[in-house]
């Protein structure tokens, strides 16, 4: 072996600094107080120090913090016991277990290295030290010592310690500004005060947590995913990861959040308008493909509600990115008259296996094996559609249509506005009880049952919304004699399947301004590397 080790400067128990490299031969040994093998080795190290200390430095580096003193007193150590409670030296020297011994010559070259207590290793070390120092052998009763005893894992390999060290190391991929929160400040309160929160508590995005989050994607942390309106803030993978940590995501959710950020920051989706509108729109995310199962998303009982970590935190992470990276704070660019709870989070998976139709992502041109996020700008929902008694397919399709009458206002028709229908399994069973019932047939029936004469849209004493008398006159009696359905085209009706097997309750999300004037739904494939 012929390597050099990184430099360090550590303090002993008296507060004196000891630097490495040394100007003479040295033995450096990493120990911790609660390691039985380290306690076996300690008297040997003390004997080596006493025998050769004038010519060879023997340095112990201990990981046990306050208990370092206990260790030193237990063995009456007279050699320097250096405090490495942060484990930074252990991390940089890249050891695996303690005791870990390095025998280093005066030039700083490692001559030998071993771990644990293999008596022959220690005897060989004592002999080499004796030769190098030109001094008699150390007085050690080797026969009283165990022939072999394994060491303990170095404390720096504890995941919580290791991630922190990795985050602080020179090669760390972290580039975001580090904010030091004073010990007297409560971190949760500090983040509220800084305006980072959506109103709920956040997980502190420590460097080590963000590093763990970044392990969820193969993408480079500094890769730019999008410019986020309204401030056109640059959303790097790292910035998205920071917000995903705060939202409570697991690392394996990160690729979904990244795809969602990419989707909403397109000109088509127009997250600026979705955020700013007084009407109060929010992105609704639907996840399709194998990732639903891989990260444990809920598509069944309570899919649109609370209780599933992936559903809840992925949607929340997207909102936090728009808030923190895009700068869309409530009362700032976020101008919603009332808002809605979807502005916290709204994300669910489609129960593709329970659906008689092609999944949403396949319908939109992706392969079934692709994992895809689709975002819709929605202003209301989920609004329940209750029908527990229909037994014929067209009846249930009709009820689903009537359940959409409330989009914008029941009297408003011919709307160029998206609606997202979430059909529950029991309604699916009724739809398909006589055989195939295509999505298009469902859409046709929705349009059919909602078709009414245009005259019903006239402004009247009960509602000033709709067509004015002047506009009706301009359109002419023939045009006003027409009947129109709820939606300006059936392509505005989007349909997915989710929910538990029990219960005849479907649900609908109501859209915002759809199309080039407002927002168009966008699907993005999730990059899983």
């Amino acid at each position: 072996m012929s390597t050099t080790q990184p430099q360090f400067s550590l303090k002993d128990l008296a507060g004196n600094s000891h630097d490495y490299p040394r100007d003479k031969a040295s033995v450096v040994c990493f120990v911790k107080e609660d390691c039985e093998t380290c306690n076996t080795a300690a008297p040997v190290l003390e004997a080596l120090h006493k025998a050769f200390g004038d010519k060879i430095d023997v340095l112990l580096i201990s990981q046990s913090g306050e208990a370092n003193t206990v260790f030193a007193e237990r063995h009456d150590l007279t050699m320097p016991l250096l405090d490495d409670r942060s484990c930074k030296a252990a991390f940089e020297w890249d050891i695996e277990s303690v005791p870990s011994v390095f025998w280093i010559d005066a030039a700083g070259t490692v001559q030998s290295q071993f771990e644990g207590f293999v008596r022959s290793d220690w005897e060989a070390l004592a002999a080499e030290m004796s030769t190098t120092a030109g001094l008699p052998a150390a007085q050690i009763d080797w026969e009283s010592l165990p022939a072999w005893r394994p060491g303990c894992g170095s404390k720096h390999l504890d995941p919580s310690v290791y991630d922190k060290l990795r985050a602080e190391a020179d090669g760390s991929p972290i580039r975001a500004r580090k904010i030091e929160v004073a010990p007297s400040d409560d971190v949760a309160e500090f983040m509220f005060d800084q305006g980072f929160s959506d109103g709920l508590p956040l997980v502190p995005p420590t460097p080590e947590r963000v590093l763990r989050m970044l392990s969820g994607t193969h993408l480079d942390p500094q890769e730019v995913i999008a410019s986020v309106p309204p401030n056109m803030g640059i959303a790097t993978v790292e910035k998205i990861a920071i917000n995903a940590v705060m939202a409570g995501c697991k690392p394996e959710y990160l690729p979904v959040v990244i795809a969602a950020v990419e989707a909403v920051c397109t000109d088509e989706f127009n997250i600026h308008g979705v955020t700013a509108t007084t009407m109060g729109a929010a992105p609704v995310m639907i996840i399709n493909g194998p990732i639903r199962h891989k990260i444990g998303m809920n598509m069944k009982l309570g899919a649109l509600g609370a209780g599933n970590r992936a559903n809840a935190t992925i949607g929340r992470a997207l909102r936090l990115v728009v808030r923190n990276v895009g700068g869309a704070s409530t009362g700032g660019v976020e101008r919603s008259t009332l808002g809605n709870p979807m502005k916290f989070t709204m994300c669910f998976a489609e129960w593709e296996e329970r659906s008689p139709w092609a999944p949403l992502h396949v319908e939109r041109g992706f392969d079934p094996e692709d994992s895809v996020v689709t975002v819709f700008a929605m202003t209301g929902g989920p609004v329940h559609i209750v029908d527990q008694t229909s037994r014929a397919p067209d009846q249930i399709a009709g009820s689903l249509g009537l359940g959409l009458e409330g989009v914008f206002l029941p009297k408003m028709r011919n709307l160029p506005v998206d609606a997202l229908l979430v059909v529950c399994p029991e309604h699916i069973d009724t739809l398909t009880r006589e055989g195939d019932y295509s999505k298009d047939r469902l859409r046709d029936q929705i349009q059919n049952v909602t078709t009414r004469p245009l005259t019903e849209m006239l402004m009247d004493e009960n509602s000033g919304a709709g067509i004015s008398a002047a506009a009706a006159e301009a359109m002419g009696p023939d045009a006003m004699a027409r009947s129109v359905p709820k939606f300006a085209g059936k392509e505005f009706i989007h349909v997915v399947v989710a929910g538990s097997d029990a219960g005849k309750f479907s649900s609908a999300f109501h859209g915002w301004a759809t199309g080039a004037v407002g927002s168009q739904s966008v699907s993005k494939k999730i990059d899983l590397g």
Partner: protein, 92 residues
């Protein structure tokens, strides 16, 4: 001490001073209608009043393609190059 990472875009907004008021009204005023219903009604009335009270002012009318999206860059630049002042009609 806890260290957390900044979740924002880390940019500090540029601070700008409000332009000095000359006390008189002249030059070119741009009227930007964001295309919400009745924005034109408000701007028509304002134009009428300005023509009465400040006849030297030239008025140019502009409209956003849709109120639901930010003003396109080309239109913003056009207004910047042609106008001394802008009045934006926001509401319905």
């Amino acid at each position: 001490m806890t260290i957390i990472l900044d979740p924002t875009d880390e940019r500090v907004p540029v601070e700008r001073q409000v332009s000095k008021r000359s006390g008189s009204l002249s030059g070119v005023v741009g009227f930007l209608d964001i295309s919400k219903p009745r924005g034109n009604v408000m701007l028509d009335e304002l134009e009428r009043l300005l023509a009465q009270k400040a006849p030297d002012v030239a008025i140019r009318r502009y409209a956003k393609p849709t109120f639901a999206k930010p003003c396109p860059d080309a239109l913003r630049h056009e207004i910047r190059d042609a106008c001394d002042y802008v009045v934006e009609a926001l509401a319905d």
